[in-house]
């Protein structure tokens, strides 16, 4: 799937010059944004294939099962999209602050806090009309997650604490809070082996998009990504954020409120990840427990970097990586690969994508220099 994407992009590059000599000058940059990450993905898949070959498996089987498990059937498509939903939201948690030049990697923590707050709201409002409960869950989830990342942003702005490290430390603190509440105050006495909160109730679950098994969280994710794109590229606020991200001194000189920008962006970023937590509770788990720390927050970082921090590009990339994680089960069953193989592949992709940053602006024919 990915190598196909890269090939088709290459064809565009090869065919176009004959048709229109000015084409590359105008669109070379855009083609680069597809071609280079595509090539990085293809390279990562090749390296992962070699890695798997070393453990005695056939890499062609690997590629086939990965494709089959991710996009081969309607069933696998649904599985992929279900996993893509939280990834879109957690990727926004990294991509939005990146517009300001901040590297936030604490999406997992905001997801957990969002899930906890949403669960708390649902349990407090038991017996109310489901729509009201769901709206309350969305609001509390967004606020919970939002405040969590705002904390990292505020520490950076007012105390000069590095936001990358503080946001990651906050992940571990969030996990401790979750475990503390789930095994203490919020514990359902009936959950013996796996301490959990009480269930939010079947009526309050957000359910599936009609005709599919994909839950409404995907729609939340799509709306959030599109809204983020409009905010960043088509509003004055987003313009100010990008100015501040490009040159903070210039932003201060022209009188932009940098503190306000940082805090608002961090709140929105954390809110997106908190919404992912709410979705996982209200559409998948039905309650809060340690299962929620499934690594969506960390994969979201990779999605954001692969999408070059562009909110719209996050959507296809999240589907792609959702597909990779959806195929994990099949790889485990058919090829006997450990469940961590998905993590290894993600790591390799991440390394390749970052190394490919060196290529931008260096591919001669895309600059019309041939």
């Amino acid at each position: 799937m990915t190598s196909e994407a890269a090939e088709s992009a290459e064809e565009v590059g090869a065919v176009a010059p004959a048709a229109d000599p000015g084409f590359l000058q105008r669109h070379g940059g855009t083609i680069e944004y597809v071609l280079i990450p595509g090539a990085a993905l293809a390279g990562a898949l090749v390296v992962f294939g070699i890695f798997v070959m070393l453990s005695g498996k056939n890499p062609l089987d690997l590629y086939f099962y990965m494709y089959y498990g991710a996009f081969g059937t309607w069933f696998s498509w649904q599985n992929t999209l279900t996993r893509a939903a939280p990834l879109i939201l957690t990727a926004l948690c990294t991509a939005l602050p990146a517009q300001l030049g901040m590297v936030i990697i604490g999406g997992e923590g905001a997801l957990l806090i969002g899930a906890l707050s949403a669960t708390g709201a649902a349990l407090a409002l038991q017996g109310m009309p489901p729509l009201l409960v769901q709206i309350a869950m969305v609001i509390t989830g967004v606020i919970g997650g939002g405040l969590w990342i705002t904390l990292a942003g505020a520490l950076r702005q007012y105390r000069g604490v590095n936001e990358t490290i503080s946001s990651l430390l906050l992940v571990y603190i969030a996990l401790a809070i979750l475990n503390h509440l789930v095994e203490g105050m919020m514990r359902d006495p009936a959950s013996l082996n796996k301490p959990s909160t009480r269930e939010i109730g079947a009526a309050n679950m957000i359910g599936s998009i009609p005709g599919t098994d994909v839950h409404w969280g995907l729609v939340f994710g799509l709306i959030a990504a599109i809204a983020a794109y409009i905010l960043i590229y088509h509003t004055v606020f987003g313009f100010a954020a990008r100015v501040a991200g490009g040159n903070i001194r210039a932003a201060k000189i022209v009188g932009l409120g940098v503190s306000k920008l940082i805090l608002t962006i961090c709140f929105l970023a954390g809110g997106a990840a908190g919404l992912a937590g709410m979705v996982e509770v209200a559409a998948v788990q039905g309650r809060t427990n340690a299962n929620l720390a499934a690594g969506y927050g960390f994969t979201g970082i990779l999605v954001a970097f692969l999408a070059r921090q562009n909110p719209l590009a996050i959507i296809p990339v999240a589907i792609l990586l959702g597909g990779i994680s959806a195929s994990g089960g099949l790889l485990q069953r058919r090829l006997g690969l450990p469940d961590a193989s998905v993590l290894v592949l993600q790591g390799i992709i991440f390394v390749f994508v970052l190394a490919s940053d060196a290529l931008y602006g260096r591919i001669g024919f895309l600059r019309g220099k041939s």
């Binding site: 604490v161 990358t164 809070i177 960390f298 990779l302 790591g347 991440f350 390394v351 940053d357």
Partner: protein, 308 residues
């Protein structure tokens, strides 16, 4: 003497024991990161290096029967991951923080992948030196069972302190970290200096990982390190890139990390998870107190991207 008769003294004793036992990985990772950061680069991937080190040490110790070979293998694994980090970072326009995050995920994933068959078997552990032989109280003896790696780490801190100040290598690393132009003008390759500094840093972090799997807690599983690596990276920042302060900070952290289990052993079970988060809360608190938006941190290498 009966167990219970020392009562609440168990807690400070366990914290002291923890300061010695739990601090070792913090110590090695922070000393390693100290070298890397002094050369002007930050390696956030040491969390992954720590886990890879723990896995490879356990695996080699199991296969060869020699825990010391395991420690060495962990160091070599760490150095290789360090070389990978430095290699990617030496490409133009590649951000070292992002590469660190990538290697954190990559190292952890690879360790879980390769370490799957190692969860069941038992590997030979590192021996301990019994400094508590003079005491009859089992808790005191437990607290003073010290591993050689800890002693090596404690010795390493002043050696590094001295090396940074007086040796040729120490000066070169600091020059690369303060001004890459100056290092280049002297005819040295900054990339090469940073490659070596990152590899040495990875080597030490890998050894820190071997301590986790071969001494305390002393087994390999996927929950072995939860953020010790990244905590140690943060620790370097408030230790002001000073190896001696790294030592004291690591001891404080070990004590904080031992607080949860210590309180649990005397029956304080509520808030267990919160006490377990003590090192992270402590890190954050110290960073809040010691950082300031108005001035650059004293002692920060000028080329370091994270302190801009």
């Amino acid at each position: 003497m009966a167990d219970g008769s020392i009562g609440l003294w168990t807690v400070p004793l366990a914290v002291l024991g923890g300061a010695i036992r739990v601090s070792t990985p913090f110590l090695f990772v922070s000393l390693g990161e100290c070298i890397t950061e002094r050369s002007g680069r930050i390696n956030l991937g040491l969390e992954g290096t720590l886990v890879m080190g723990a896995m490879s040490a356990y695996g080699i110790s199991y296969l060869t029967g020699s825990p010391w070979l395991g420690v060495f293998a962990a160091g070599v694994t760490g150095a290789l991951l360090g070389a990978l980090h430095a290699g990617i970072c030496s490409l133009p326009r590649v951000n070292d923080v992002a590469v660190g995050i990538a290697l954190m995920l990559f190292g952890t994933g690879l360790a879980f992948y390769l370490g799957k068959p190692l969860i069941e078997p038992t590997a030979p552990r590192l021996p301990a030196i019994d400094f508590g032989w003079w005491s009859d109280i089992p808790q005191v003896r437990a607290a003073l069972r010290v591993n050689v790696l800890f002693l090596i780490g404690v010795a390493l801190a002043p050696i590094l302190y001295w090396a940074f100040r007086t040796t040729r290598w120490g000066l070169l690393i600091r020059t690369a970290g303060e001004s890459s132009d100056a290092a280049r003008a002297m005819g040295h390759s900054v990339l090469l200096i940073r490659l070596r500094a990152t590899m040495v840093g990875g080597f030490l972090a890998g050894i820190g990982g071997s301590f986790l799997s071969l001494f305390y807690p002393g087994s390999w599983n996927e929950g072995l390190s939860s953020g010790q690596g990244i905590t140690a990276v943060a620790l370097v920042i408030f230790a002001r890139w000073d190896p001696l302060l790294c030592l004291w900070a690591s001891l404080a952290f070990g004590g904080a990390a031992a607080l949860g289990p210590a309180l649990q052993s005397v029956g304080v079970t509520s808030g267990y998870h919160l006490f377990n988060a003590a090192p992270y809360i402590l890190t954050l608190a110290i960073m809040i107190i010691t950082c300031s938006p108005k001035r650059t941190l004293t002692g920060a290498p000028a080329e370091l991207s994270i302190t801009r």
